[in-house]
């Protein structure tokens, strides 16, 4: 078991190193750079001035020199300074993570509140009208693009109700009313999508469990249907659902971009989008590396839990 953990850990490190290399090179292929993106439209600099500005940012050094200096400090926790704001990348990231975690957690709660009841209902009454209606509703969440939904909501809320989610983030413990008002609608939009995926998972996993022998035994013993479902089936059915949620969490961290863009919530996703558009290399690299760490750690935890649950895997 220990060997297994050690091996998976090393694999994770390898992936992180590969990601750092790939993202470092990838951003430097994109045309344009941070110096150009910051210029006022009316500014008219000469190429020498631009070159000097790039030198100040350290962008004119050879590729390997730049990489080495970045990766050595990154390993020690210093992700460098943003090329645009000149503030430390770690500081920027930490600020945004607060909001994104709030949003992610709320989206998951919303998704669960929608998906679980519908999924259970759908599985228990398979192929009946309730099943169809439930699945239809759930899939509806997947079929409209979220940016479009967000625009429609913000536009018509403003027209009909004269209210939109307030701008300016306050964490839950500081100002719960404002926080909820801000994040509930974006969480709903993101959660609807997540709900569709989770509902499917719940349904198919519960269906599978319901076919198992021990369920038949419980029924044969004369237990009531509801007890059968709640006591025996649900517990086992939820394991894959939790896995899916876990996977989706890392997707959520990056996947909230478009909603953040429209509701002006400064999360990690919009930080990434802005950084890419402005060619802020250090910020992009820092954010991607951060995401990669989260994904690798999540995968590691998931694999470890599988290994713990299924002894066959441990000994391969």
């Amino acid at each position: 078991m220990r060997m297994y953990i050690a091996r998976r850990f090393l694999h994770g490190l390898l992936v992180l190193w590969l990601v750092s290399l790939v993202i470092f090179s990838l951003v430097r292929i994109l045309p344009g750079d941070a110096v150009i993106m910051q210029l006022d439209q009316a500014a008219a600099p000469t190429p020498e001035i631009l070159s000097r500005a790039r030198q100040e940012l350290g962008l004119e050094r050879p590729f390997l020199v730049q990489y080495r200096s970045w990766i050595t400090s990154a390993v020690q926790g210093d992700l460098g300074r943003s090329l645009i704001t000149r503030r430390p990348v770690t500081q920027e990231l930490l600020k945004r993570i607060n909001l994104t975690s709030h949003l992610a957690v709320m989206s998951i709660i919303v998704a669960m509140l929608i998906a679980l009841p519908i999924g259970v209902l759908s599985a228990v009454r398979q192929d009946t009208v309730s099943d169809y209606v439930a699945r239809f509703l759930a899939v509806l969440g997947l079929s409209l693009p979220d940016f479009w939904l967000a625009t429609v909501i913000i536009t018509f809320l403003a027209i009909w109700v004269q209210w939109i989610p307030p701008i300016g983030f306050a964490p839950l413990w500081e100002d719960p009313g404002r926080c909820l008002g801000q994040l509930l609608i974006p969480a709903f939009i993101i959660g609807a999508r997540l709900a569709a995926v989770s509902m499917r998972m719940t349904r198919s996993s519960l269906l599978e469990v319901l076919r198992q022998d021990y369920i038949r035994t419980a029924r044969a013993k004369g237990a009531r249907e509801r007890a059968v479902i709640v006591r025996h089936a649900l517990k086992n059915a939820f394991i894959p659902v939790i896995t899916v949620i876990g996977q989706q969490f890392s997707v959520l961290l990056g996947g909230t971009v478009i909603v953040e863009f429209i509701f002006l919530q400064p999360g990690v996703g919009s930080l990434m989008l802005d950084a890419v558009l402005l060619r802020d290399y250090t910020l992009i690299q820092g954010a991607v590396l951060f995401f990669a760490v989260v994904i690798v750690v999540t995968n590691l935890l998931v694999d470890l839990s599988y290994a713990w649950l299924d002894p066959r895997i441990r000994y391969r």
Partner: protein, 298 residues
């Protein structure tokens, strides 16, 4: 009749057989299948079905384009900001959506299947290397990948298909690898190997048929996702370049910009996307229910 036509005809017959099967067992799946078939028909017959040219600017008496006209008899779904007929654009848009969906999913799942097969069947060092590569690809955010491809290779329909395929492939490879590993547990693989069957034969005979079902289900869902991803790419300015009509570009461009003055520009492409994505998802559900013996109805 052309070979393409013959192939299409026989495929249609097969498709009809599948549809009939579905209709009896899974009405919802049958309806979705009909919708998908309808989409295919509309896409193929677009020049016949569209009342006008989707690229033409329709002008009024003063020679100016009839912009953002609400639906009327002459233009049943209205006109867009350049005076083009929305109905015709939606009909032709079915082509692009279908092509983007099919091509990207086909390429993505093919790529993913090959990688997953190789990785899962041979295991060992090769598997480890490939898996690390897949992990790395999945760790790079889609936006960065899309931007990199578009900036370097340029923005075109082909490159969009490539980008979406690259997004699908890692996930598909994971599924395939998992299935292959599960199948390898079964003893008949060992038996076949003991009998001296070549890896290719084993793969073709025993592995592929079992992989086919989960991939098919995955693919049907991804078909819907691909269309939505194309819309998201248009929103970010990385979508299919004009003047090609696509539902995604219509929804995220003029549809979103003119929500208040010209709602028709957003409703019709939005409805088209929703219906088609819904249909693909339902179809996937029905296929999964049919093909996975563990999930069959009592």
């Amino acid at each position: 009749m052309s070979p393409g036509g013959l192939g299409a005809l026989s495929a249609l017959r097969h498709a009809w057989g599948v549809v009939w099967l579905l209709a009896r067992r899974k009405p919802l799946g049958a309806v979705s299948a009909m919708i998908v078939l309808g989409l295919v028909v509309v896409a193929i017959l677009a020049p016949v079905l569209a009342p006008r040219d989707p690229y033409e600017f329709n002008l009024n008496e003063r020679g100016l384009p009839i912009r953002m006209q609400a639906p009327t008899a002459a233009f049943p779904l209205g006109t867009d900001p350049l005076g083009r007929d929305v109905l015709s654009r939606i009909v032709y848009g079915a082509r692009v959506s279908l092509v983007v969906g099919l091509a990207s999913v086909m390429i993505g799942t093919l790529l993913g299947t090959v990688v997953g097969l190789v990785s899962g069947y041979w295991e060992g060092k090769l598997d480890q290397v490939i898996q690390r590569g897949v992990d790395t690809t999945m760790a790079i955010p889609g936006i960065v990948l899309a931007l990199a491809v578009m900036s370097v290779l340029g923005q075109s329909l082909t490159n969009i298909i490539l980008v979406i395929a690259l997004v699908i492939a890692p996930g598909a490879s994971r599924v395939v690898r998992g299935t292959v590993l599960a199948i390898k547990q079964h003893t008949f693989i060992d038996a076949a190997q003991a009998l001296g069957a070549s890896p290719a034969r084993i793969v073709a005979r025993h592995v592929l048929p079992n992989v086919f079902a989960p991939i098919l289900v995955l693919a049907s869902v991804w078909l819907g996702n691909a269309i939505v991803i194309e819309a998201a790419l248009s929103f970010l300015g990385l979508g299919t370049p004009p003047p090609t009509p696509t539902w995604g570009a219509m929804l995220s461009g003029e549809g979103r910009r003119n929500l208040e003055t010209a709602l028709h520009l957003a409703i019709f492409p939005g409805a088209a996307i929703s219906i088609v994505v819904l249909a693909f998802n339902m179809l996937g559900d029905a296929l999964r229910d049919l093909l996975d013996p563990r999930l069959r109805s009592r």
